[in-house]
Symmetry: C2
Subunit: 147 residues, 2 copies
Amino acid sequence: MTSVADMLDVAYAEARKGLSEGGIPIGAALFDADGVLLGSGHNRRVQDDDPSVHAETDAFRNAGRQRDYRSTVMVTTLSPCWYCSGLVRQFNIGAVIVGESRTFTGGHEWLADLGVKVTVVDDERCVSMMSEFIEAHPELWNEDIGR
Amino acid sequence: MTSVADMLDVAYAEARKGLSEGGIPIGAALFDADGVLLGSGHNRRVQDDDPSVHAETDAFRNAGRQRDYRSTVMVTTLSPCWYCSGLVRQFNIGAVIVGESRTFTGGHEWLADLGVKVTVVDDERCVSMMSEFIEAHPELWNEDIGR
């Protein structure tokens, strides 16, 4: 099995890649039940000028068409927004690992109430990466969450 | 002002286009407060082999980066699934027009409870288009909604 820390590392590396591209540093990855990486991705609002590509939707896309998501795990550096939480609900993704929910809280508690196995790591790297980005680029961040 | 029927026609034309491409016939369009089309699109799971492109997310993408969605209207041929309902909630899209919710019911009532102005047209063209597709391609349809 791949550990929670190892899975979060993949999402974190995606977020750092996004940051190095000038984008919003949120990364995500989808793993199967055996901990095999199906796909990973990061927010591409700035890079592609595309508001529909959040980290989780990018990882989901890059995992390709899967017939069943119940045993998959979505790992994300930040609490999934409602758009991404809706993705998890609709496709019955079985588990979500959240790097941190201090800088933003989306729908991860709603998902837990619906039976999704949710783990909040409260990872310091994720908190500081996002805090620094929000402080430096508040307008981009607010745009990304529809504020 | 553009009428509800005129706006739904745009979404319906997108769905028909998707059908003609061999895809799942769901279309959507995003309009501004004056009824000006910002972007339209359709489900592209089959065409692009991309599970992340639902009609509403395609219309949202094609509308480009908007600073505020509160006065926009999302028109879709079918009740928005949880993924697309989450999109509406996160970006505070003010109104949703639903062609029909007989063949599938997603989160439009949840959105109405949250204050989104929801109109269900119950359009016969949309019902028959979707019914016929589901009967002919049940496996594609179930894949698209994570069943």
